[in-house]
Symmetry: C2
Subunit: 471 residues, 2 copies
């Protein structure tokens, strides 16, 4: 990530907050005008900074559309708390002024009863629209789309379409307008054109004759990952969502896609770290909830490691016969875990970017087998040398059989690294095959899987090579 070196010590919001607090006390009416030029996101940051009790007053001091825009930029936690605590009429007025997709998201996060109460209080049109959106799963295209977009009938001329666009823009409504959608009488999507293409189109001609007919669309029930893929593959600023009959249902705008990308990535990193993904920013998650996300995996892994202990117990005689063997156990098992962690991170990321499909597993297997052999050989040599050098240098007396011991360590490391690499590379494919999220193949899980095998391999190798000498 490389921390941005130009990270500002004080945010714009921090600079603005005092003045705005002043105005709230002295002359709230002036706030709207004073902050007119500010980006809603900055006002939202101010709201996050000031005393929560004052936020409703701040919002009340702004025109409804503006206040709604600020709400859309607020953190989920604060937004939900605000809407749940403020007077239902004020909440309803604000929610009604939000864009349909943000409105649905906001209501989804709220206490159901309060949400229903508010839904009842908002205008019929907005309510119907919102109830329709609420039917879609949050992680689908339908759950991301907004229903306010600009569509024009095929029959319209470029001039008529431009007039429509102008009217909507002038009405100050918040439709997604990066792309103009051309639909037939049944509402079936037949063409798309960017606003610039509409401007460039010759007056008098029909929009249909100027629009693109090869259209990238996504079904409403498509997983949001698919939306991300389409957006990034085709450099889209808006993705049209259609039903089974290609009727245009809504539009997903690129800013929401960016949010999805960052949420999915956060989930992946946290899962890879060995915990359940958090729904909120680290500092906003409650202590107990954070605990709940971390305990289960830790217990599972801990219990898993008990098998390692059991495996060690199985070889207790060897250990007591040659204590020196025990010294290298951490070195050996961790080399397997580390190489496994490398392989897993590569594969789950390549899967997330859809660089790897399920059918690529054989290719990966071969590649990582070679990789594991070379990596294992290198580390094995280092490990063996370590013993030889310590012996010669007199750092540690391994006794006359240090050569065989070195061989044992070297050979084991080779085997463990190879096994670790293959496990790490294949586990995501296996999880995916059985319907789990490949990203659940966390570094700690891979390490734990490899540890048991490492121990068994190590002592079996020892019994094989050291029998008659150390054992």
């Amino acid at each position: 990530m490389q921390q941005a070196p130009d990270e500002p010590e004080r945010s714009l919001a921090a600079l603005l907050a005092p003045d705005i607090l002043d105005l709230l006390e002295t002359d709230p009416r002036s706030i709207a005008a004073e902050t007119e030029e500010l980006h809603a996101a900055d006002l939202a940051d101010v709201a996050e900074l000031i005393d929560r009790a004052l936020v409703p007053q701040l919002l009340a001091a702004l025109p409804a559309p503006r206040a709604a825009a600020v709400l859309e930029y607020l953190g989920e936690e604060l937004r939900t708390e605000l809407l749940e605590t403020m007077a239902p009429e004020q909440a309803a007025a604000l929610i009604a002024a939000m864009t349909p997709d943000e409105r649905a998201d906001a209501l989804e996060e709220m206490d159901e009863d309060v949400a229903d109460e508010i839904l009842e209080a908002i205008p019929e049109r907005e309510r119907a629209e919102t109830e329709r959106l609420l039917q879609y799963e949050a992680d689908t295209a339908g759950g991301l789309m907004t229903t306010e977009f600009v569509s024009v009938p095929e029959s319209q001329t470029v001039d008529e379409a431009l007039a429509t666009v102008r009217a909507i823009a002038r009405a100050g409504r918040r439709e997604a307008m990066q792309t103009i959608y051309v639909v037939d009488a049944q509402g079936v999507l037949t063409g798309v054109m960017s606003l610039r293409e509409l401007l460039a189109a010759p007056e008098g001609t029909r929009v249909a004759d100027n629009a693109w007919t090869e259209i990238v669309t996504v079904p409403a029930d498509a997983h949001r990952e698919t939306v991300v893929q389409l957006t990034s593959n085709y450099d889209l600023v808006a993705v049209p969502v259609v039903d089974a009959d290609r009727r245009l249902l809504g539009v997903i705008t690129v800013d929401d896609v960016i949010d999805v990308i960052q949420e999915e990535q956060t989930e992946d990193v946290q899962k890879f770290g060995g915990l359940e993904a958090l729904e909120e920013p680290y500092l906003q998650v409650g202590f107990v909830e954070l605990l709940k996300k971390r305990v289960p995996w830790l217990i599972v892994l801990f219990v898993g490691q008990m098998f390692t202990a059991a495996a060690m117990g199985f070889f207790e005689d060897s250990i007591s016969a040659a204590t020196v063997l025990a010294l290298f156990v951490p070195l050996i098992i961790s080399s397997g875990g580390n190489s496994g962690s490398q392989a897993t991170s590569l594969i789950i990321r390549a899967m997330a970017l859809q660089e790897l499909r399920a059918r690529d597993w054989t290719r990966v297997l071969l590649r990582e087998a070679g990789m594991g052999l070379v990596l294992g050989a290198l580390l094995g040599i280092v490990g063996a040398l370590r013993i030889v050098v310590w012996q010669w240098a007199g750092f540690y007396p391994f006794g006359e059989h240090y050569g065989v011991l070195a061989t044992t360590i070297g050979a084991t490391v080779l085997g463990v690294v190879l096994f670790g690499t293959l496990t790490g590379a294949m586990l995501p494919f296996v999880l995916r095959k059985v319907g789990f999220d490949p990203a659940s193949a966390s570094a700690p899980l891979v390490a734990t899987l490899v540890d048991v095998t490492g121990v068994v391999l190590y002592f079996s190798m020892a019994l094989l090579l050291l029998r008659g000498t150390l054992l």
Copy 2:
């Protein structure tokens, strides 16, 4: 990540490729018309599928701007190989037709001599433009921006501005046009307005009176992470890049920002996995190069683990006195590594999203201290119970002193998990403090750091509690 369940088995490109290959043989001239409606990205996918020797012919069969667009969607590897091998004139013609930012990127990846040769061959205006862009570091705002954007002088009226926009759009040039930039006589950025706002603005008024004057800008030398932050915080579709005097230098479009987000996230995951970040997709990286990215960290960690072996050696007497102690070494050290991995993944992700600033370290320290204590206590109890239960159930005879042993294990696990959690949480802050990338705090690195301490803690605890009984 939860891979898209609706992942298509055959891509559109796979379906198109055969027909296009046909046309290449029979009637290349018709390809342009036949593929007119296709998205350039799909043609690029076709190019990735077919025999590389045929790609230049495919590109030659398309009009220059179209072929250039296809080039922009090609994978770096194929694009570089193509441009380096095709006739310099053809390469120059294609490169000249690319957008300035893509042109600079393409040249940067090529062999320097070839790149210079091509630069010489492209028109003066494009060459100057490109040379200017090549001066910026690839990971800065300057390295991401395009120099083709729409700016209008303050003095212009809305009608004049619209006419300018129309003219540019009709000329079929590829300027970024989501946002119109208003500049004064010195080229200083004084206002921005979206194309829709320009359409909504009353005719006859000056653009300056309709544009926003609070403008989100980024300096040319800003790190690309800053560009990502601004884009996602403010839901921008284009970020203006300015020099020290706020003169407008270029514009970064959202599609390039999305690429950056995904690249940075890939780097973070790979670093967290314990290897150096790859520059190319997993399957495109050469075996040797992949090896080079993985070996260094593996060696470093392996050497690090030798200290664990040394630590074990220090306690060899205890081990030979009570072999049973050795059995739990993997269990104990891995519990530290796992809890550390959890903490690290949470912190580096929160840092990447700028949810955590450097100054938050104390807050995190306290929070994770509490977390480590609770997690450690829970795992410690499980660990101690395991011994007691095994003893009672007769699975394994720990002897009369199993109670003390259980206490030792439990107390050590508590300590190791606490230490692991704190190490994992603080390491990213430390790395950042000393100027490294916090994302380098990989799961394997944390585990290795914690292992040594775990061993020392374990056996010290044992010497303390088991003296006179097992030891």
